[in-house]
């Protein structure tokens, strides 16, 4: 503890959750890693930084970014060429590393921090891969991180659902998984489909019976969404819908929202699930229909999964989709793995080309979703890194959203048929700075239940970013003037100045531990890891001196989700 305050003086504080309007100048006090209330006269002020009217926001939060775990690491091994092209040497502050769309762990933390991001969430942690994932994330410096455990294709759950398990039994299992894998949320990926692929089925629709268990994706989805709601887990079910990437999948996306019937849920990388079948190529934008559905559904939040043009790799637990798309691999090599009666993993390298109609339309669909979904509290900036492109393209995307003329210049450069098949060129909307602060900070914090992050009110973790108010919003967001993590300066003008370790963010809902009596024999009779070895002890995360555990409080009846 220190008795000195750090004063950030005279900034335009852009905090959509507070009272500051972003237009008048204000001061911000930091103390002991937190935002502090203005101190009484005579308090000791250590450092004073004059912001000269620069823009001040909370640290940005990436709600969906594949930054660590088995499939990301396998992607690194699959494409040494990308790592040869993007390498960095040690310099006394930074460890060396490499990679742009699957950066190594240290580089991941440095680049996020340099862009003003102070937390990122790995969205596809298979429970069987949880220990590996946390080992990797322990080597991601500076930022806070958390993981969503993937459920909904695990044989334990499917078998119990088929046997008619009660909601409360499922709730106990879901809560147990959250504890055992040190997760902060639950993601469902192609509900039932990954398992169905193991039985040699190649596609599964929302109301199609699973070939072995006879249950439907709808049943899996609604049961899991109900679980998280019942358990008071702040982040609602994180949903990767069925039929990713298939033209016409917009109907399953809308049916999924309808199936939730008002239950809170987050639909991820919505761009990949907003495709129609109109036109000569039988591939069209359904962004308007999907956006309208989201606008009418206050229980739904989304992230976009915007694509950016260039080389990347698609990395997904959705092995059913990835096997179907394996012929599109560029370069021509890919990985598919069936995993532990738990899930799967598919890696397909891909190059999004701006002159290719399909890719160019995907680009336009993502931007249409951003611009047509009205409430910035419910739509978040993601590229589904690395699936749509690297997280380092966020400043570019922010400019596309804030600068209509820049957007239309880009639209004019891509496959010319897209302008004719998309309403993008006719959309006037430009995001304001406050809307950017909502979609990259306050909104993700709220939907994740991070009460101490995403805002600048007293008591918040002092993750603070100061931007020069440049007309070129890409330049502005690529290189913030200052970045503070836990009250300590970590970057200046877009370059790292210090490093350290963030927290692992978890949630721990209450549950009846009697579920272990059912799970223990399941692990012994059907798995290849025993229950006690599956479960990750706190010490495995805490004992290496690489950041703490931060527990998100569960919701109570008086908390509103949105």
């Amino acid at each position: 503890m220190s008795d000195a305050y750090t004063l950030l003086r005279g900034g335009r504080i852009c905090d959509p959750t507070g009272t500051a309007d972003g237009d008048s100048l204000g001061d911000l006090y930091l103390k002991d890693g937190r935002i502090a209330a203005p101190p009484p006269d005579g308090a000791r002020i250590g450092e004073v930084i004059d912001l000269d009217g620069r823009i001040v926001m909370a640290g940005a939060i990436d709600i969906h970014s594949h930054i660590g775990g088995g499939k990301v690491n396998l992607a690194r091994l699959l494409l040494p060429e990308e790592h040869r092209q993007h390498g960095s040497a040690p310099d006394g502050l930074r460890r060396s590393g490499s990679g742009l769309f699957t950066p190594s762990s240290f580089v991941t933390g440095y680049r996020y921090a340099e862009m003003g991001y102070t937390a990122a969430f790995e969205p596809a942690m298979l429970p069987s891969n949880a220990r590996h994932t946390h080992l990797e994330l322990a080597d991601v410096p500076i930022i806070d991180k958390g993981c969503y455990a993937v459920l909904g294709n695990d044989d334990f759950l499917l078998e119990r659902l088929a046997a008619g398990a009660t909601q409360s039994e499922v709730n106990d299992y879901v809560a147990w998984i959250l504890h055992a894998t040190q997760a902060v949320g639950v993601k469902v990926v192609n509900p039932g489909g990954i398992s169905a692929f193991k039985f040699n089925q190649r596609r599964l629709d929302l109301d199609e019976a699973h070939p072995h268990y006879g249950i439907t994706p709808r049943h899996i989805l609604t049961t899991l969404a109900t679980s998280l709601s019942d358990l008071g887990v702040p982040h609602p079910l994180h949903i990767h819908c069925n039929n990713l990437g298939i033209p016409g999948n917009e109907s399953v996306t809308r049916d999924t929202i309808a199936a939730l019937d008002g239950l809170p849920a987050h639909l991820t990388h919505l761009q990949f699930h907003s495709y129609g079948t109109e036109g000569d190529r039988r591939f069209s934008s359904a962004a308007a229909e999907i956006a309208e559905t989201v606008n009418r559904s206050p229980n739904i939040s989304v992230d976009v999964g915007q694509i950016v043009f260039g080389q990347t790799i698609t990395a997904s637990a959705d092995i059913m989709s990835q096997f179907r798309n394996s012929g599109l691999a560029s370069p021509r090599k890919w990985v598919c793995t069936d995993i532990e009666c738990d899930g799967g993993c598919g890696l397909v390298p891909f190059r999004y080309r701006d002159k290719a109609f399909v890719n160019a339309l995907q680009w336009a669909i993502g931007l249409e979703l951003f611009l047509l979904i009205e409430d910035p509290w419910r739509v978040y900036l993601t590229t589904d890194h690395p699936n749509g492109g690297p997280f380092t393209s966020y400043p570019h995307l922010i400019r596309l959203l804030m600068d209509r003329s820049f957007r239309n210049e880009q639209l004019a450069r891509i496959n010319p048929d897209v302008a004719a098949h998309s309403r993008l060129g006719s959309i006037d909307r430009e995001y304001t700075l406050e809307e950017i602060a909502i979609m990259t900070r306050a909104g993700p914090a709220r939907v994740l239940g991070l009460r101490e992050r995403g805002h600048l009110r007293p008591g918040a973790v002092a993750d603070v970013v100061v931007y020069d108010d440049l007309p070129d919003r890409e330049a502005m967001f690529a290189a913030p003037a200052w970045v503070f993590k836990n009250g300590r300066q970590v970057a200046r003008n877009g370059a790292l100045t210090a490093t350290g370790w963030g927290d692992t963010i978890v949630v721990r809902p209450e549950f009846d531990s009697a579920i272990e009596r059912r799970l223990k024999p399941w692990f012994e009779n059907h798995q290849t890891v025993r229950l006690g070895n599956f479960r990750i002890a706190d010490g495995e995360i805490l004992d290496h001196g690489r950041g703490g555990l931060s527990i998100v409080p569960t919701l109570t009846a008086s908390d509103s989700c949105f």
């Binding site: 699959l78 494409l79 790592h83 060396s96 590996h132 090599k333 069936d338 290849t528 025993r530």
Partner: protein, 436 residues
């Protein structure tokens, strides 16, 4: 992590102990211990596990050129050797995640080449991956699902000791009759095949041709000739039919028994066979074998640096070359002037080289020569907690401390060595953040 030792006079046997001594990473061992720290596997271990768990926990000295020395003096001598090295290497890397991490950090400080003792087998698979990709499944999936195993290799008992008990013929299975999996063993040898299996004798140098012929047969083409690699075409046709008719077939291989010069070519052919079979049914590849947490060491290097082993770290951006940075070749050519060798687990025999060497080894590790510096280290999973990766690539398993250890961990020794070395002499600018 929690100290596993209780205060009672007669510690009870420990159950669900993870074995760190091969890539099967069995986690169901029962281990008894006495007051002296002597461990004994009482259930579920293979012969290797029984031998290695029973190694006594001896207090051991450090040595400098064969003379007993204190740890501090040994570290000073090691630092002096490494400080002036022009072409250093950090090899062996048979250790837990934390030991490997510390070894890589040391290599980065030194500008050293990194490689694992068992990397030849590892790189058969890795080079194939980098050319064709892979289509695989993990132990847990196969235990419950696989109804056909086509296994290339030899000495399965030695390389994957409990494969048949745990995965092929498990006591229970979800989606198949537990004891009923059948299959083919393709490789040298003519001993009795396990129940349900048929042996097709061939030299493994022909594995690529055999797998290619099977791919043709699976899609209904007729390869030329009446034998491939010594196996009659009608026998291969039966294998192909079995793969086509299996609900979930497996093509597995022991990488260490493939042609040393072209194991990658064989694995590429296995992968093509697997992908071909998946056109109509399900099938998966299964790499088997490995020791000394080789896969885990490679994973740690990949996530920390973006590159696999056989890279040079710290002398600029990580530089990977699977041929140029093969440590065995570099040692044979005299291309290394100082070597750090890490052998906290089995599977990393100290190389027979006159290269000046700092050896961190578990007690009892045979040494061809007295190295410049020898520092004994604790065994992960017996003497201290940690983690390792199982060979099928997904599960990382927790290692526990089973007894009171007298030796430092490899990570502690390596970190102490790092502290004695100067920081990177050549600061370089970080690459500018770019977007596509």
């Amino acid at each position: 992590m929690d100290d596993e030792l209780g205060g009672s006079d007669l510690p009870p046997p420990l159950s669900d102990v993870v074995c760190p001594f091969c890539a099967m990473a069995c986690d169901d061992l029962v281990v008894a211990r006495d007051q002296a720290g002597q461990l004994r596997v009482t259930a579920n271990g293979c012969a290797r596990a029984r031998t290695l768990f029973a190694l006594p926990a001896l207090p051991a000295h450090c040595f400098i050129r064969g003379r007993a020395a204190s740890l501090d003096d040994a570290l000073d001598a090691a630092a002096a050797l490494l400080r002036n090295a022009g072409s250093p290497a950090v090899g062996g890397l048979a250790a837990d995640t934390e030991g490997v991490s510390a070894a890589l950090a040391l290599a980065e400080r030194l500008g050293a080449v990194v490689d694992h003792a068992a990397s030849d087998s590892l790189f058969h698979g890795l080079r194939a991956l980098q050319v064709t990709g892979a289509m695989t499944a993990t132990f847990g999936e196969l235990r419950n699902r696989a109804d056909l195993f086509v296994l290339f290799g030899t000495e399965f008992d030695r390389h994957a000791p409990r494969l048949f008990d745990r995965i092929v013929h498990p006591p229970t299975a979800l989606f198949r009759a537990a004891g009923a999996a059948s299959g083919f063993l393709i490789g040298p040898g003519d001993g009795a095949a396990p129940e349900g299996f048929e042996r097709l004798t061939a030299e493994l140098i022909h594995a690529p041709a055999i797998a290619a012929a099977l791919s043709q047969l699976v899609v209904g083409e007729n390869p030329r000739g009446d034998r491939v690699g010594g196996i009659a075409m009608e026998d291969l046709a039966r294998v192909a039919t079995a793969l086509r008719e299996a609900r979930f077939g497996v093509v597995g291989w022991i990488a260490a028994t493939l042609d040393p010069a072209a194991g990658d070519v064989a694995i590429e052919a296995f992968n093509r066979l697997v992908v071909t079979a998946n056109a109509s049914t399900r099938c998966a590849g299964l790499p088997l074998g490995g020791k000394g947490n080789a896969l885990g060491a490679n994973y740690v290097c990949a996530w920390q640096y973006g590159m696999p082993l056989r890279s040079r770290l710290g002398a600029g951006p990580p530089e990977h070359d699977p041929l140029r940075y093969r440590l065995k070749s570099l040692l044979a050519e005299g291309g290394i002037d100082a070597l750090v060798w890490l052998s906290a687990l089995n599977g990393a025999e100290v190389p027979d080289t006159r290269t000046p060497m700092v050896v961190l080894a578990r007690p009892g590790q045979p040494l061809p020569y007295d190295p410049e510096v020898l520092i004994p280290v604790a065994i992960p999973g017996l003497d201290h907690a940690g983690s390792i990766h199982r060979g099928d690539g997904v599960a990382a398993l927790p290692l526990r401390r089973l007894r009171t250890a007298t030796l430092p961990t490899a990570a502690a020794v390596l970190n102490a060595l790092l502290d004695r070395l100067p920081a990177s002499p050549h600061p370089a600018l970080f690459r500018e953040t770019a977007h596509v």
